[in-house]
């Protein structure tokens, strides 16, 4: 009744294959974007910035990256944390070496550097598959974190072994460092995430995306009908690492401000992003956002209820959080292995028919 496609006819293939074929969907997305760009910046405060919006944006970017690799190309990776560390340290070195550089350039260059590293660690995927590959990516995770811990050049020989982001600007407005205003950091991340979500959508719907999905669904058949596994897998590793590197750079430079490799980029971060992708939906751009939102907002909410509401000690809340997240992951895999995105699709189909059952 309210949400319908009747009367929304397509007269060209271009109209048929656009991202949001339904008019209502398009309006909704434009509405959300307008709200995010034009309304939120005026009302944002420090709490919303630091505990909700920034982490959501940063982890969405990481989830997008992992979803390209795992969801679209079917290559399971447990090295996300390590690749985020590459992005973070690359951005640190760039910020220190070129203080005048626009932060957008810094973040994107960090992503490109991470993409190179990603290709290197993706090479084994040409010979090994599945769990074996997952273990190979663990090598990346542990080796990279160790590297950033042990080689002083990466943290510019600072005594603490930490890196901390100096104040850097975009068109004269500070987006990193302690003095950066909330609206600036928020808009900075928002622009990056929106632009690259659009890019991800484009990449996944065209030739490249199909070659990834073909490799994911049936690699041997894909190769026989003309997909080069070398190009498909390595491009997936490169682009996935590009996104993950950017998210690492954003996490360190904009959100955290300072970082120490084992703490900020440990194996648990790899799992966190993997969970986002599972909960949100493997092979779905929307799912990456839903998953990130869920796994960022859910703990905030739980913490508010348990610590703030019930007055329980924080460690107890942390344990319960683990129990809930673990339980939810299992629940999702049992009930809806395609994640929240699929759930959303089903809801939409129901809505299209409402108030009739069929």
């Amino acid at each position: 009744m309210l949400y319908r496609e009747a009367g929304d006819f397509k007269t060209s293939y271009a109209a048929d294959q656009q991202t949001f074929p339904l008019k209502l969907d398009r309006w909704f997305v434009w509405g959300v974007l307008a709200f995010a760009f034009l309304v939120v910046p005026f009302f944002i405060n420090d709490y919303w910035e630091k505990s909700v919006l920034l982490p959501f944006l940063v982890w969405s970017m990481a989830a997008l990256g992992l979803n390209i690799l795992t969801g679209y190309c079917g290559q399971l990776s447990l090295g996300t944390g390590g690749f985020m560390a590459v992005g973070a340290y690359a951005s640190y070195k760039l910020m220190v070496a070129f203080p005048e550089l626009n932060m957008f350039v810094v973040v994107i260059t960090s992503g490109l550097i991470t993409a190179m590293v990603g290709i290197g660690f993706g090479l084994p995927s040409l010979r090994i598959k599945g769990f074996y590959l997952a273990v190979a990516t663990l090598a990346a995770q542990f080796f990279l974190v160790w590297l950033f811990n042990k080689v002083p050049w990466f943290y510019n020989y600072s005594a603490s072994g930490q890196i901390s982001a100096p104040e850097r600007t975009v068109f004269g407005v500070a987006v990193t460092g302690a003095a950066a205003p909330s609206w600036a950091t928020y808009l900075f991340c928002l622009v990056l995430v929106v632009v690259f979500a659009y890019v991800a959508r484009n990449l996944t719907r065209g030739r490249l995306g199909r070659s990834w999905m073909a490799i994911r669904d049936m690699d041997i058949a894909a190769e026989i009908i003309g997909v080069s596994p070398l190009k498909a897998k390595l491009s997936a590793f490169a682009i996935s690492s590009f996104y993950i590197g950017m998210s690492g750079a954003m996490l360190f430079a904009v959100y955290l401000g300072s970082a120490e490799p084992t703490e900020a980029f440990g194996i648990d971060k790899s799992f966190l992003v993997l969970f986002m992708v599972i909960v949100g939906g493997l092979g779905s751009i929307l799912g990456s956002f839903l998953g990130a939102a869920f796994l960022i907002l859910f703990p905030v909410l739980m913490k508010n209820i348990m610590v703030g509401g019930f007055g329980w000690p924080a460690d107890l809340a942390a344990h319960l959080e683990l129990v809930f997240i673990g339980g939810l992951i299992m629940l999702f895999l049992v009930v809806e292995p395609h994640g929240l995105a699929q759930f959303w699709r089903i809801t939409k189909e129901k809505l299209r028919l409402w108030p009739f059952p069929h």
């Binding site: 599945g130 997952a134 273990v135 663990l138 599972i278 129990v323 673990g326 049992v334």
Partner: protein, 333 residues
């Protein structure tokens, strides 16, 4: 013999002992993988959980004391002075079996014939769940485990090896923890009995059938449910043994669950389905990382044990993707 040479031997021996610990965890992985095709990431957390439970029973902790106190404002922590070790082990085993049963009922039952990667991710969820649950039940503080196994350096070995060094050199004998020797003995016993079980009993054959194909096994009348409960119970038992060994060695704490990750490269070397493979893989990794750290670690900053196992497995995979004992895979379409 020169002290340097003796040092190397000591490093190798210690590596062997560490390797046995890895093997113990890897063994649990192999069992579940062989019997259900599930790659059980939670094996390490199961070891942690088993160890926590054992200590809890031994010392007479009240389960969920923390939660109860927070909810009702009470102050409970112990219900008595605890059980004796043997009884506590039995009770822990009962808990692990109950856990296997619940897991089958609530989760695994719905996952028949799912893709292996989905099952793998389910066990990651399970690992998180159990970690939180274990902490919630028994508290997250580091606990000491004492089940009466001897520990500490062996003076006898120290005295004997001191005599090997050449005259006048400064050498004080080798340090080998007796606990490690015990662990080695128990691991060997465990492997022998498990191999016999899976090769020569009817249940063992059913286990292998299920591993090959869930649905096919069901059509010939094997009850998937009871098999899965049995397998997860056995894995729980192996986890308990591993938990006792690791716990006695380095205390019951979260890092225990991280050994699960170390078991992954072990499995890559040894193959996912081979029990002897798990043992040999564990030994190779154990010796390899200790030797590497001893010889080169100091030069490049130390703590290479963090990644050496994975990089070794990776290098190995490049040359033999099917593992040490796996057969060459012929792909078909």
């Amino acid at each position: 013999m020169s002290p340097d040479f003796l040092n190397v031997i000591e490093v190798i021996l210690n590596g062997l002992m560490a390797g046995i610990m890895y093997s113990l965890v890897a063994l649990g992985f192999v069992l579940i993988f062989k019997a259900s095709g599930i790659f059980n990431y939670a094996q390490g957390v199961m070891a942690l959980f088993a160890a926590l439970t054992l200590v809890g029973f031994q010392t007479g902790q009240v389960p969920f004391a923390h939660l109860i106190n927070a909810t009702f404002g009470t102050d409970v922590h112990h219900w008595g002075s605890g059980m004796n070790t043997f009884l506590a082990i039995l009770c822990t085993m009962a808990v692990m079996i109950l856990f296997a049963w619940l897991l089958e009922r609530i989760v695994l039952r719905h996952m028949v014939n799912q893709a292996p990667i989905i099952l793998f991710m389910t066990t990651i969820g399970l690992a998180y769940f159990m970690e939180g649950f274990g902490d919630l039940m028994w508290g997250a503080d580091i606990k000491n485990m004492d089940v009466g196994l001897p520990s500490g350096g062996s003076f006898w070995l120290e005295d004997v090896t001191k005599g090997w060094a050449s005259e006048g050199s400064e050498y004080y004998g080798m340090y080998i923890d007796v606990l490690d020797v015990w662990a080695a003995g128990i691991a060997i016993l465990l492997v022998i009995s498990l191999t016999l079980f899976s090769q020569y009993t009817k249940t063992g054959r059913a286990l292998r059938a299920v591993a090959d194909d869930h649905q096919a096994a069901m059509t010939v009348g094997i009850s998937l449910r009871s098999i899965w409960i049995i397998v997860w119970s056995i894995a729980g038992f192996v986890a308990l043994v591993a938990g006792i060994m690791w716990g006695s060695k380095s205390g019951v704490q979260f890092s225990l669950s991280l050994i699960a990750l170390k078991a992954l490269p072990v499995l890559i070397l040894g193959g996912f389905t081979s029990i002897p493979g798990a043992i040999i893989g564990g030994l190779i990794i154990g010796i390899g990382e200790k030797l590497f750290e001893y010889s080169l670690g100091g030069m490049i900053g130390g703590a290479t044990e963090n990644w050496f196992a994975y990089v070794l497995a990776l290098a190995f995979l490049m040359f033999r993707p099917q593992g040490l004992f796996g057969e060459k895979i012929i792909e078909r379409v």
